[in-house]
């Protein structure tokens, strides 16, 4: 009897402990992903730089041209801001659902909904981050074949803030990849271990 209870107990405790620990790990990762995506959105939306160029000199008075670089001139950056905004809202909703959602009855839809939404938002953030990355590369290096000059030497601060937004977005992408696979793995582990412990409890007394 002591041997049997000793055999049952570690399985039971291990199951409970890993479930709680993985729940809090997942929640912490979601919080980090939310912060990264929100930081990327804010950095891109508030990205602006004004610079005055001297284009010609008439007599002794220089002719000035003032140019402002804003994010909404480039559709790729607009898409980047929208995608990261949506991903941060998604992560916020997921955190709320995890903390406060035990009252609702999801009728078994909870897990497939979470998994599919996670994957869709992963695709969204990867599209946005990659488009902005290639536009930033174009701005940094220019394209000699199409006669497009690089602009990062003139608008240095704009380029630096854009680079910061890109880094935050790629961090959010990596975290969301980890989160989706961890939540699927976690669900499989919880389901299969509950079946296994059920079988063990039946099979042990003999």
């Amino acid at each position: 009897m002591a041997l049997q209870s000793g055999e049952k107990l570690p399985i039971f405790i291990g199951h409970i402990w890993s479930k709680q620990k993985s729940r809090w790990t997942l929640l912490g990762l979601r919080l980090l992903a939310f912060l990264a995506a929100a930081a990327a959105t804010l950095l891109m939306v508030l990205n602006k730089q004004t610079k005055t160029f001297v284009v010609a000199t008439i007599g002794t008075t220089p002719v000035n041209l003032t140019l402002t670089a804003k994010f909404h001139h480039t559709p790729a950056f607009v898409f980047f801001a929208i995608a990261n905004g949506l991903v941060s809202i998604h992560n916020l909703v997921m955190i709320m659902m995890d903390l406060l959602g035990s009252k609702f009855d999801y009728k078994g839809f909870q897990f497939p909904m979470i998994a599919s939404l996670d994957m869709l938002n992963l695709a969204l953030v990867s599209g946005g981050a990659n488009a902005a990355a290639f536009m930033a590369e174009l701005g940094k290096n220019g394209n000699s074949h199409a006669r497009w000059d690089k602009i990062c030497d003139k608008f240095g601060a704009y380029c630096d803030r854009g680079a910061g937004a890109l880094i935050a977005s790629f961090l959010a992408l990596a975290l969301m990849l980890l989160i989706s696979f961890l939540s699927i793995l976690n669900h499989k582990l919880v389901n299969s271990s509950s079946h296994n412990s059920h079988n063990n409890i039946i099979a042990l007394p003999n």
Partner: protein, 163 residues
Amino acid sequence: MAETKRIFTFLLRFIAFCTTLSAVIIMISSRQRATVLVFSFEAKYSDTPAFKYFVIVNAIVSIYGFLVLFLPSKSLLWRLVVALDAVFTILLTSSISAALAIAYVGEKGNPIAGWLPICDQVTKYCNQVKGALIVGFISVVLYMLLFLYSLHTALNPLLLEKS
């Protein structure tokens, strides 16, 4: 019912493989020589890193799609196919969005940065790139459907045979 499902997914995978392959071929074969004032320059897909990335990703996905067509239906590797479908769908969406961003600049230009649109000088090249992007977009939609379908079947393991 299971038989029609299998035939339908096989057909869908075959069409997706064809679209990715044709996107690669159309993009690679786009080139045009144009003369502007005194210069003569040639517009190729390899001038832009975004188009090179598009070609590379679509080539990898078409090789993957070709290999998956030959997978026997009761094999254990279908679980790996679910994960690989996820990865390749995400890669495809990122490649199409990058190529679309650069193609937009080529078509409309960017007045603040002083980038002039090049589509009126190399019209044939521009049209061919647009065609490759349309085919690439169709392949993204197809792979998204395939991925959602394999996610759906993988998350209801009671509906599949136990292996």
